[in-house]
Amino acid sequence: MNNNLYSLIGLVAAVCFILALKGLSSPKGARRGNIIGAIGATIATVVVFFYNDPAEGGLKNLPLILIAILVGVIVGVPAARKVQMTAMPQLVALFNGVGGGAAALVAIVEYLYLGDKASGGAVGATVFTVLVGCISFTGSILTFLKLQELMTTRPVVFPGGRAVIALVLLAVLGAAGWVGVDKGSTSLLVLTVLSLAFGILFVLPVGGADVPIVISLLNAFTGLTVAATGYVLDSTLLLVAGTLVGASGTILTRLMASAMGRSILGILFGAFTATPQAALSAADARPVKSGSPDDVAILLAYARRVVIVPGFGLAVAQAQHTVRELADLLTAKGVEVAYGIHPVAGRMPGHMNVLLAEANVPYEQLKEMEEVNPTFSQTDVALVVGANDVVNPAAKTTPGCPIYGMPILDVDQATNVIFLKRSMRPGFAGIENELLYDPRTTLLFGDAKDSLTKVVSALKVF
């Protein structure tokens, strides 16, 4: 195929990606946008097989490449199809990580291929891609482990951690300079290993609540590595696609951070400033009022208006169907039911909307924070299902606590508050919630789904 025609088709694919991002930004066009993106990606992948390398002619190793693609499809599609709704955030993190790893590998192979022919710009772009791609790879895998709770979700801080991170960062930059001067393969190997290590160190001190923002940031990083690879391979398509993702990912990261009242710099440099958190002690001994499923059922049945506030606990327990059953039962009894959705409830923005949509919760019952907050004062019962940080008044009252300044759902304005919780453990951000000790608060301990099932059967008896 003529290489001009090849570039032209690449341009078509790039336009598809722009339309895809545009579509994904509006509720109406979202699904179509995603399909347009997939079409663009398919066009780009098919057409590359007709690419004529200026130096080498057509592609070699075709059978192996096709087998590799097949393997990728066999691994990727079932993973995406079968994943539980609750595990989607970590799957996205994992996909992002392998993308970053792929970009780093492409840069390494091209660097070995070019050898002495590599221009200064190409070496610079290679260093950038290897460095950032490796950080994205190990960083994303670590966020996956955190979200999957295969490791602690708390910030991991060890004595001298800051010094270690700073030293490794210096070493990474040193190795990057070394590659630039020496253009050898040993220096590149050192850079690769150090960057992989830095990716781990960079995500370790990030507290659970900030993990989604970090995923979004790493996503933007991976986009930039793809752009840099596009520069090395002289591919406009990769340059445009990578830059688009890098730019939109940065904006998205900022939007997410502002929804949580966090600053990106604060999170980025959190790695350098994180201090071991003070042990939660004194508060733990105070009495709380815990109730039985029957108590909860009575409170709910005699309420005029109930607002359900779902959180990650709902996702963990897969309780979305049970919560809907409860809501339907209450509605049938004449209780007005609404869901108060905090923008960052769960582990990712929009997590709760996705989850409740799965259970076919009527759309008009889902209220966003701005809409539901003024109504809490006329609400008899706020039923908090597995949420904690997003209703923690400390965000308003305790300057200096990690979530201070984050907008919260004002459930403390409701006449009664019911918490369905697994334990007294603080939420993802690791902060004590004063509301749990409030006399108007009733706690029902246990797995959210079990608790809700018991409440539902208690309600049916009425």
């Binding site: 994904l24 990606a41 792929a102 993702v245």
Partner: protein, 100 residues
């Protein structure tokens, strides 16, 4: 292509990227992130190009791994995004009718 031409494309693409997602409701943050994630799976194109001119066993091994990883990123990314969005759609349509 000249460095200036590539730089121009880069800068213009940055602005396009900023513009297209400047206003997004929080509900769509997760699907948008996931969709953008799938788009950078197009690194597959780069992986195929480098695999296509690999001669040494090392280069070929690394680039074939890159092809596998990039395919997982791209294909898995689009499928998982579609699954997320499918749920939004399935919910909105019937309720819109009921409301009328």
């Amino acid at each position: 292509m000249s460095v200036i031409a590539l730089l121009s494309i880069f800068v213009l693409a940055v602005f396009v990227g900023f513009e297209v997602v400047s206003k997004v409701s929080t509900t769509l943050h997760t699907p948008l992130m996931s969709g953008a994630n799938a788009i950078h799976g197009v690194i597959l194109v780069g992986a195929i190009i480098v695999a296509g001119h690999s001669d040494s066993a090392l280069s070929l091994t690394l680039s074939i791994i890159a092809v596998v990883l990039a395919t997982i990123n791209m294909v898995g990314g689009f499928v998982v995004t579609d699954r997320m969005l499918e749920m939004f759609k399935g919910k909105k349509k019937p309720t819109a009718k009921e409301a009328k």
